[in-house]
């Protein structure tokens, strides 16, 4: 775990350095698109566009460049062709840089693949001297018994969710309080390390330094959930192209994260197969005419589909909208049922509020809300990310919720476990190891 702590700390330092320099970028590598957002941190003088507009002051940054390109070489949120992905990242970053007129060196990366797995950890120590100090917090975090999550997995989030001091619980910051037994609930999210390293390698090949790595479900939650939803408990379902990220928020912390390896691409594939269309045509029909709830009139709505086998000009192929809905709906139901299963596994039904927010590119399918209410039950809404200053309208849709969330997260980072000092007995050979690793990496 020390090694992980070191890399995460390095990322944290880079992020702080980037914040100091004022320019940072967010890179969301998805299965459908790669988008890059360049942010400029400009102190606290961000002005609303006009005096009668009140803007939520989420962080004092401004988006100065956005670049979005079609993603290549990514399936299920994981990289299958590194060269293709690298060139996609390059074009996205170049676009955003061109718009911003700034060179970007540090990027925060959002990642949806890698089969995330959530663990709830607890740790307990006795407070050293009456008051809880930062050192005690470091100790209690280090005392968490980490489950054996496997050799080929890597923890990317370890968020202290809740501190308890003796019989008092629900403390977010127990420093300075007096007590004897300090215990912590920590939420740890692990990913398969190979996809993560592939992605980091791709980013590094583009001469960019990774200043942070986040689970995209977490980032979407930060940008899309309202403050009260984050506080009382809500699930965010980010239906992307290749995978669907799920995370559950409670008391402004992510307490569960998971992903379903199904997404909008699978719907398109079904249309391809069901209606015998090319992938591009299927994507086009899905976005223009797609739907999930068939009504009586849909049977009469005929959609012309391209027919490559046409012999003469009047040889046209028509598909009714109800046919299209009939193809799309089972797949969406399947996705939502998977999500339902994951949410059930997470104990979501025990939360005080069970708001479910759907976002991501595929949440734009008409009728999704009805279907989701039927499958997931309870209160469902379609969420769009919070408005941030300078973000173009075209990039403010639900498809960009994880990128925007990452940007917001960068300006208001949450304390992660590795931000606290490790107790001395755990550090041991840390410096020597760090030096060794530096030599290995650079020589």
């Amino acid at each position: 775990m020390n090694d992980l702590f070191e890399t995460q700390r390095e990322m944290r330092q880079r992020r702080e350095a980037a914040m100091k320099r004022g320019v940072m970028a967010v890179l969301d590598v998805g299965s459908y698109k790669v988008s890059c957002i360049v942010m400029q941190f400009a102190g606290d003088d961000a002005e609303p566009p006009s005096p009668d507009v009140t803007m939520p002051r989420m962080g004092s940054f401004r988006v100065v460049g956005v670049g979005t390109v079609r993603s290549r070489g990514v399936r299920f949120g994981e990289i299958t062709d590194m060269n293709e992905t690298e060139s996609a990242i390059r074009s996205a970053v170049q676009k955003a840089q061109k718009m911003a007129g700034l060179r970007v060196d540090h990027v925060l990366v959002a990642f949806a693949g890698g089969r995330p797995r959530s663990y709830g950890l607890t740790g307990e120590v006795e407070v050293e001297q009456g008051e809880v100090t930062e050192r005690d917090i470091g100790r209690v975090l280090a005392s968490c018994d980490v489950p054996p999550y496997g050799p080929d997995r890597e923890a990317i989030h370890a968020l202290p969710v809740n501190f308890s001091l003796d019989h008092r619980t629900g403390l977010s910051d127990p420093r300075g309080q007096v007590g004897v037994n300090l215990s912590v609930d920590m939420h740890m999210l692990t990913l398969s390390d190979a996809p993560v390293y592939d992605l980091l390698e791709c980013v590094q090949r583009c001469d960019l330094e990774v200043a942070g790595l986040s689970f995209s479900g977490f980032a979407s939650g930060v940008s899309t959930l309202m403050e009260n939803e984050q506080q009382l408990g809500a699930a965010i379902v980010d239906i992307g192209g290749g995978s669907t990220a799920i995370s559950v928020f409670m008391r402004k912390h992510m307490i569960y994260g998971d992903a379903v390896r199904l997404g909008g691409d699978h719907i398109t594939n079904d249309i391809c197969q069901g209606l015998h269309l090319s992938y591009e045509d299927a994507e086009r029909i899905k976005t223009l005419h797609g739907g999930l709830v068939a009504t009586g009139s849909d049977g009469g709505v005929e959609i012309e589909v391209p027919n490559p086998m046409a012999q003469w000009e009047n040889d046209r192929r028509m598909v009714t909208r109800s046919e299209l809905i009939g193809v799309m709906r089972p797949r969406v139901e399947e996705i939502l049922e998977e999500v339902r299963a994951r949410l059930d596994a997470s104990g979501f039904e025990h939360l005080p509020s069970q708001r479910i927010v759907l976002t991501g590119g595929s949440s734009a399918i008409p009728g999704l809300q009805d279907l989701a209410e039927r499958v997931l039950g309870g209160q469902v809404r379609i969420g769009r990310p919070l408005r941030v200053q300078g973000l173009p309208q075209a990039s403010a849709g639900a498809a960009f919720s994880s990128a925007v969330g990452l940007a917001l997260h960068a300006s208001h980072p949450m304390d992660e476990c590795w931000d606290f000092e490790m107790p001395i007995d755990r550090i041991g050979t840390r410096r020597i190891k760090a030096a060794m690793r530096w030599f290995r990496q650079n020589w």
């Binding site: 390109v69 079609r70 290549r72 293709e84 060139s87 996609a88 390059r90 074009s91 970053v93 170049q94 840089q97 061109k98 007129g101 700034l102 060179r103 583009c206 001469d207």
Partner: protein, 304 residues
């Protein structure tokens, strides 16, 4: 009969054309271009440095300097030869013919001449340096005329000193030299060293002497401190301070015709000395003196 083994067909792969993406070199170059210091260097410092180097090289190389010198000369003479810049005539709208001749003489212009070859400011200073000129302005108009506008000094008095005769303006500045006094009989005369420095007083005295008319010959500055008024047959010695006031009293006495017989200036007196303001001393002529003695002898019965 169909063969059992299928014929090997050529597989047509319709691999999608890859999307446009910047090459790695392109990407790196663009990032380099977006780097602040690099951009500043290429856009500002490199051109500036090159410019400085070139300028320094040109400055130090004798060939370039020689070339530049001759070329600058050529261009300058070409410009100077433009008809627009030729001075063809000099016009002096005011001023006596004599003064005009004098001005033309000191300007020493060989017309036509290019305005670039003439230092107009220097010309103005020269013209203004003339004693008869109070102020001058020299302007060149594009019709080829050099206009010298001057304000002349107006002569107010004639000053004779050390056998030379000058015209003075009202402030005592020499306007011109005269060959003879009779050239300007209309102007009053002052004589003596330092007379030009006390012109204000002289003018005041002349103003007081107005009623005496033609009897006044002139004023003499004595020892650069006080004035003598020379009349045709008398000399009035004025005090250092308040000379005009003393004279004013005398003239007032003279003009009183109340029968008190105080009209001193009509008496046979050679000098009226008013240097002591408390008492006026008269020097009588020989006839008057003997007559005075005779009258006193008759009155008092005793010889003086």
């Amino acid at each position: 009969m169909l063969p059992i083994i299928a014929e090997k067909r050529e597989v047509v792969t319709t691999a999608a054309k890859p999307d446009h993406a910047p090459s790695k070199l392109n990407y790196r170059l663009e990032r380099l271009w977006l780097t602040r210091w690099f951009r500043d260097m290429v856009r500002i410092w490199l051109p500036l440095g090159a410019l400085i180097v070139v300028a320094y090289a040109a400055y130090t190389s004798p060939a370039v300097r020689g070339w530049a010198g001759t070329n600058v000369e050529v261009v300058r003479s070409m410009v100077a030869a433009r008809p627009e810049l030729q001075i063809e005539r000099v016009s002096i709208p005011v001023g006596s013919p004599d003064l005009q001749r004098q001005i033309l003489g000191i300007m020493e212009l060989e017309l036509p001449v290019s305005a670039l070859d003439v230092d107009i400011k220097e010309l103005r200073n020269m013209v203004q340096g003339l004693s008869a000129v109070k102020s001058a302005s020299v302007r060149f108009f594009d019709d080829g005329t050099l206009v010298v506008s001057i304000v002349e000094r107006m002569p107010a008095m004639v000053w004779r000193n050390l056998n030379r005769i000058y015209l003075l303006d009202e402030n005592g500045i020499k306007v011109a030299e005269l060959p003879r006094r009779s050239v300007r009989p209309d102007l009053p005369l002052v004589v003596g060293e330092g007379a030009n420095a006390a012109m204000r007083e002289a003018r005041e005295i002349y103003a007081v002497l107005e009623p005496l008319g033609g009897r006044v010959l002139g004023l003499v500055r004595m020892g650069e401190r006080r004035w003598d008024v020379v009349l045709q047959d008398k000399v009035l010695k004025l005090p250092e301070a308040g000379g005009a006031d003393a004279l004013r009293r005398l003239v007032a006495m003279q003009s009183q015709s109340d029968g008190t017989d105080r009209n001193v200036l009509d008496k046979d007196v050679s000098i009226v000395d008013m240097r002591d303001p408390n008492r006026m001393i008269l020097r009588l002529n020989a006839n008057a003196l003997s007559e005075l003695r005779r009258m006193r002898d008759r009155v008092h019965g005793e010889p003086v």
